[in-house]
């Protein structure tokens, strides 16, 4: 994965951007034909649930024994969801019933319709890790239970230490850098997920900002003196580059101004989105997709989007906070799916969640302020018409299924608080998505260097 600095500069679009784009200009996306040819359009849409979503309350066993184990850990402190209010689902490959958090009502039907899958007890790993391995000190991810590091590991799929690139960025790297400077990756929110060795994301504001109002420089009229000022401003970005900081800052501005020229219309998506943080991000994603699809032969055939919703770090006050947030997630995902139907690409787009970590099954505090603490393995949603929905996915663990044993100090617990040792790695989850997206087997190993440590290379939740 590591390129020398020289190699990076040689291969990077940045060096070309900094000077070349100034003089060349770009028309629309200015894509080379090779880029537009080949497979039809596909898109990955990542929703990051920042803070660490409590998967233990997002997916709960509904069978008598399973619910009793869950309630035993959470009911007394006031953190258990009542059995009757959970939204029932029947995973195809498991004999027992489960329940979704009641606030996910908007996406509940998608599970039954086979368009929503859940990957269970997934998390950062370096290699498969049993409880015995864990207790005997086998290699485990760097700085478990720490927000910044675990966010990084979910977004980079590197668990042995800090990584300067995210797995979204590396997927974009191997699919090729667009010579126009219009990146495959668009960020609606910040995160290392989108940064590659060669790729840096287009960062845009969410809806309601119109696409043709994005990234516009204000204050320049046609008067000669204002055009002279613009000429000087453009020139200043090409000098002073002996300072890497100055050069990097100029590159970002240059990229923005080049792309702004391409956004000449503001396409209309008719699907109504909720006016929420995530709703507005996903609405902008839908509009960017429509814009791209309308770009004819120059349209990108692959796009990656990164969205984020914060507030999931529910050490306290979890009951209301998580309900509010999951309502927002479910409603926004439903609207976004409807928009992909409107655009006719529902089979070509997959939406999936990532999050810092799961949370302790054992509550923190009690009653009105009850919450939960940082943990590890977690459950995640994958949605789209190409998803083999209606089931739970992952690698089976000590329970004999892909779902962990909800027992404090039990076979999946790192200690006594209910922190699940993942049976499925982020690498396996991400590689399954990347393979569907079009990354071949050779490049999969480059993008996900830890994948070779796991025998299951594809979780089979994508068609």
């Amino acid at each position: 994965m590591t390129l020398s600095r020289r190699e990076f500069l040689r291969r990077s679009g940045c060096s070309a951007l900094s000077v070349g784009a100034l003089t060349s200009g770009i028309d629309r996306f200015g894509l080379v034909q090779a880029f537009a040819q080949g497979n039809s359009y596909r898109a990955l849409v990542c929703i990051f649930l920042a803070g660490g979503n409590d998967g233990n309350n997002m997916l709960v066993p509904l069978d008598a024994a399973g619910y009793a184990a869950y309630a035993a850990a959470r009911n007394a402190a006031g953190l258990a969801i009542a059995q009757g209010s959970l939204l029932p689902i029947k995973p195809k490959s498991i004999g027992t019933e489960f329940g979704l958090h009641p606030s996910l009502a908007a996406v509940h039907p998608f599970f039954t319709d086979g368009k929503l899958a859940i990957v269970t007890n997934v998390g950062p790993l370096i290699q498969p890790l049993s409880k015995q391995d864990y207790l005997s000190g086998a290699p485990r991810p760097y700085q478990l239970f720490s927000h910044a590091d675990q966010i990084s590991q979910w977004q980079t799929s590197i668990s042995t230490g800090a990584s300067g690139t995210g797995w979204g960025g590396r997927v974009a790297d191997v699919l090729g850098v667009n010579p126009s400077g219009y990146p495959l990756i668009t960020a609606l929110a910040g995160g290392i997920f989108t940064r590659g060795q060669l790729t840096s994301p287009l960062t845009v504001a969410p809806a309601p900002t119109a696409l043709n109002r994005l990234l516009l420089l204000s204050g320049f009229g046609t008067a000669a003196d204002e055009q002279a000022r613009l000429t000087a401003m453009n020139y200043l970005r090409t000098i002073g580059r002996d300072s890497p900081l100055v050069a990097a800052a100029s590159n970002v501005t240059q990229q923005a101004l080049d792309i702004a020229k391409a956004f000449d219309v503001d396409p209309v998506v008719n699907t109504v989105f909720p006016n929420t943080t995530l709703g507005n991000q996903l609405k902008q994603v839908a509009k960017l997709m429509k814009f791209n699809l309308g770009s004819g032969a120059r349209a990108l055939t692959r796009q990656i989007f990164f969205c984020s919703l914060g507030g999931f770090d529910t050490h306290q006050g979890q009951v209301n906070t998580q309900a509010t947030l999951l309502t927002q997630v479910g409603n926004a995902m439903k609207a976004f799916y409807d928009a992909t139907v409107e655009l006719g690409i529902e089979s070509q787009v997959v939406t999936f969640t990532l999050s810092d970590f799961g949370r302790t099954l054992q509550p923190a505090g009690s009653a009105g302020t009850v919450g939960s603490d940082h943990a590890w393995g977690n459950h995640h949603l994958v949605m789209g018409a190409s998803v083999m929905g209606g089931d739970l996915y992952g690698v089976s663990g000590p329970s004999g299924t892909v779902f962990p044993t909800l027992q404090l100090g039990g076979p999946d617990d790192t200690d006594t608080r209910g922190r699940w040792i993942p049976t499925t790695s982020v690498d396996q989850y991400a590689a399954t998505l990347a393979r569907w997206f079009g990354v071949d087997e050779i490049n999969i190993n480059t993008v996900f260097p830890q994948l070779r440590n796991f025998s299951t290379r594809d979780l089979r939740f994508m068609i």
Binding site: R5, L9, S12, A50, G51, Q143, L144, F145, S146, H147, A148, D149, G164, G190, R195, S200, T203, V204, L215, L217, S218, G219, A224, D225, A228, R229, A232, M233, L236, R237, I239, G240, D242, S243, P244, L245, V246, A247, A248, A249, S250, N251, V252, T253, Q255, A256, I259, A260, G310, D313, H315, Q316, G317, P363, A364, G365, T369, G371, D373, H374
Partner: protein, 555 residues
């Protein structure tokens, strides 16, 4: 709020600087020293040059002004720092506590709602402190400390000014105190107690949040460091974690038993430090802390807290961990190991045997030879959005929209457009990561975490608003009573001489570090403006400088 400088004085000083600076800059160009090494050669008989003073003020204030440049030239760096240490504190008022739910007589969009349930009064006070306060260095350091000891208004209930200003008071009052004092005061601050869940943390299911973050973010970081900030490694290159989960568990138990001070009129007390209301809520078991230090069983919550904070404070990582971040905030993103080591040494011993003397640390950072030497291609840091605003505003006599009074300080919308919502970072990991990199480079550049295609354009557009227009009063009632404008009148007399104008702006805005090719490009653009339009000539020059990466990377 703090009308420190009369406009007349600024004007007079401004002209004095302009003439002197033009002279010096011309001399430097004529002798064609390779810039920027020329700065150190520009001394006259030991007196600090205007450019040196401006650069020092870039690092120690919210932006050089003409009169402060003259003043630093008059008194020198050390005396200026002593004045700053003793300057009256701007700080923030203690406000009456309010109910969690706004009462009916405090409706949306009312002044009542604005002042009691939004961060408006705190953010505007912050900006007026930075623009007009005498205690520039204290405000600058306190804001750096806020970015280390994060409490965010994003969290429900923190955005209430009455809950937030006591937290900022701690940062202001402890900015030049001992680090141990700061650590204690911030640990027991009620907003922090709420934000990281130390408030009401009890021995049954103790909460790990504060325990983890106080170690990882507020004091020692994740890995053992050398005094020069580099990581300690074994022969295989492996690093050494500073703590493990067992230590976090021990600190989680150590921090049990604390709750809010007695309620005032039934309202949760965010004003006074937290206290122990019920000793039974504290876990009195034995605890093994950092470096294997063990606390005996049976200690009170207060005894455990003192011993636990001492255990953290005495850790050898604190000096390089905190020192590097303060250097990054004030001077450069990439201090040399030797620079960090020199600051660690001062943290460990201020020369009088005292550990953790923040005043001595700040002084050492700003007077260090690496901070004062000529800049190199690797030195400096990208200014964050707040600093971009304040540097520009202070350079040009920032006023209310109509120019008759002070700015109302309602500048957070501009900062937010550039990615920095003041006092509302997204998480305890602050606005950007101190270890963040410069894209396409192996250098660190924390502030680049806020720079992307969207915010890069926003930077130019905020500059456009401030330079070519103003932030009008009253358009966002009740949030901008008087608005903000810049005053370029001191520079208009120079507009007939584009070279002289650009040289004067170079001295004030870029501490004389503008390259010859940048200078000529700006002069060309200025000359394209009709000479009768003196205001537009000045604005053209200021816009080009302020939007340039050469200016936004402060070196």
């Amino acid at each position: 709020m703090h009308p420190m400088h009369s406009p007349k004085l600024l004007f007079r000083r401004g002209v004095g600087l302009i003439l002197g600076a033009a002279c010096i800059t011309s001399w430097m160009i004529v002798t064609s020293y390779s810039w920027p090494g020329q700065l150190s050669r520009a001394r006259h008989g030991g007196r600090v040059t205007a450019e040196e003073a401006a650069r020092f003020l870039q690092q120690s204030t919210w932006g050089p002004t003409a009169d402060l440049i003259s003043h630093v030239q008059d008194v020198g760096f050390r005396k200026f720092l002593e004045e700053q240490f003793d300057a009256p504190m701007s700080s923030y008022p203690t406000l009456p506590l309010v109910p969690s739910t706004p009462p009916v007589d405090c409706p949306a969009n009312s002044i009542c709602r604005r002042d009691n349930y939004t961060l408006y009064p705190v953010q505007t006070r912050f900006f007026t402190n930075t623009l007009y306060g005498e205690d520039q260095l204290r405000q600058r350091v306190a804001f750096a400390l806020h970015q280390i000891f994060v409490v965010s208004g994003v969290d429900i209930g923190q955005g209430y000014p009455s809950r937030f200003t006591p937290y900022l008071q701690v940062l202001d009052s402890d900015a030049f105190e001992n680090f141990r004092t700061l650590l204690y005061d911030i640990t027991l601050n009620a907003a922090m107690g709420n934000y990281l869940d130390m408030a009401n943390n009890r021995k049954t299911n103790p909460n790990e949040n504060y325990a983890r973050e106080v170690l990882q973010l507020f004091s020692i970081g994740l890995n053992r460091m050398q005094p020069d900030g580099s990581l300690v490694r074994d022969v295989q290159g492996q690093t050494f974690p500073t703590y493990d989960q067992a230590v976090v568990n021990a600190f989680a138990r150590l921090f049990t038993g604390w709750t809010f001070a007695p309620a005032q009129n039934g309202l949760t007390n965010y004003i006074d430090p937290m206290r122990v209301a019920n000793a039974a809520n504290h876990d009195t078991g034995t605890k093994t802390l950092l470096r294997g230090v063990t606390l005996p069983a049976g200690q009170t919550a207060a005894e455990d807290l003192d011993d636990g904070l001492d255990n953290i404070f005495q850790d050898p990582n604190v000096g390089p961990f905190i020192g590097r971040q303060l250097i990054q905030h004030l001077v450069t993103s990439n201090p040399s190991p030797d620079y960090i080591k020199r600051i660690t040494d001062v943290f460990n011993d201020n020369g009088s045997g005292v550990r953790g003397d923040l005043k001595a640390v700040v002084k050492a950072i700003l007077l260090d030879r690496e901070a004062r030497a000529a800049s190199t291609p690797q030195s400096g840091h990208l200014v964050h959005p707040v600093l971009l605003i304040t540097r520009l505003a202070r350079a040009f006599n920032v006023r209310s929209a109509d120019g008759t009074g002070d700015s109302d300080g309602y500048l957070n919308p501009q900062s937010q457009a550039m990615g920095m919502n003041v006092f509302s970072p997204p998480s305890v990991f602050s606005y950007f990561s101190p270890s963040g990199g410069v894209p396409g480079s192996s250098l660190r550049g924390p502030e680049f975490g806020l720079l992307n295609t969207s915010t890069a354009v926003a930077r130019a557009n905020v500059v456009n608003t401030l330079v070519f227009s103003r932030i009008a009063a009253g358009t966002a009632y009740p949030f901008n009573p008087s608005g903000t404008s810049l005053d370029f009148s001191a520079f208009q007399p120079l507009a007939g001489d584009p070279e002289g104008l650009v040289d004067a702006l170079n001295a004030l805005m870029m501490s004389g570090q503008m390259s010859p090719d940048m200078r000529s490009a700006v002069i060309t653009a200025v000359s394209a403006v009709n000479s009768s339009n003196t205001l537009k000539r000045v604005r053209t020059a200021v816009y080009l400088i302020a939007t340039s990466s050469q200016y936004q990377v402060e070196r």
